[in-house]
Symmetry: C2
Subunit: 198 residues, 2 copies
Amino acid sequence: MFYPEAMTRLIEELARLPGIGPKSAQRLAFFLLDSPAERIDALVGALRDARERIRYCSVCWSLTDTDPCRICQNPARDRSTLCVVEHPRDVIAMERTREYRGLYHVLHGALDPMEGVGPDDIRLKELVRRVGGGDVREVIVCTNPTTEGEATAVYIARVLRPFGVRVTRIARGLPVGGDIEYADEVTLAKALEGRREM
Amino acid sequence: MFYPEAMTRLIEELARLPGIGPKSAQRLAFFLLDSPAERIDALVGALRDARERIRYCSVCWSLTDTDPCRICQNPARDRSTLCVVEHPRDVIAMERTREYRGLYHVLHGALDPMEGVGPDDIRLKELVRRVGGGDVREVIVCTNPTTEGEATAVYIARVLRPFGVRVTRIARGLPVGGDIEYADEVTLAKALEGRREM
């Protein structure tokens, strides 16, 4: 290698991060070497702090620094509605809409038999247990509109049928600001199928 | 904010890194939270280690863990030729060619009057001092083929004229594997101008 050994190791470690290729890792390494010590301490401190304090909520499995999380604890939230998402970041995306007032359930993945992800590998048992608890009247399945997300949605609808709760699926259609000309045919077909009276 | 505070801070710190936007910062933060402790320790360790050990060579201003650097110390390198580059990573790019056997001089930037970067802000004095030392017979200016890099090259040629050394500029032309159809007109003009007998 042409770099001093400590530099090579830093570049290698950075290149293991998702979305960071060898060129970005090199650029990051130079930036980190040239940064003042306080900036590095702030970054490392934030990392250690987040890893110490952030947990998964034992009720909804979202990210939290309190348990249960602030959403689960909030008396203003509608306890009869559960929004099921794949990932904690989907909770944030939903919260940003400021339209949803119910609770969440984070699966931490989607069913993917090809990759060996079965019902026991995601937080499905916990969902069934919560719905079995009796407060829930509607489960809105907000898994991704991918093959895995759709399969997971179908599975959830099936396992929740015995509880007599309403299970709905978030609408698929054209993204707002999108262009019909450039929409793929599957999205367009879904948008057509989901059309509503004006 | 919708994230727990420690998570928000980690995302903010990551988003300060070059080339990392808010979405990548969020993805990195989730990745770092989910990584095993050993991976995090390895990353932080590599960072601390690199910052402690890596210095600039006091002769050529390249990155090094010894002073002078291994290239400056190497008796097999040709001490009469100096390759002037803008950045330490350009040294690595040159070394990768395995064609260059001389020494280097890293400017740590290029002249850029619009941004207030003048001759005293880059390692130009050090270059003049080295050339004045008497060993150097040729200075190959390998600054970038940008406005700033070209201006720096012209400036270097001028300040080194009194020493009577040969000052050359790396060739500009079509990149190997490139396509004439897609080359910009300035590159094409430079390639034409730099044509050689076959």
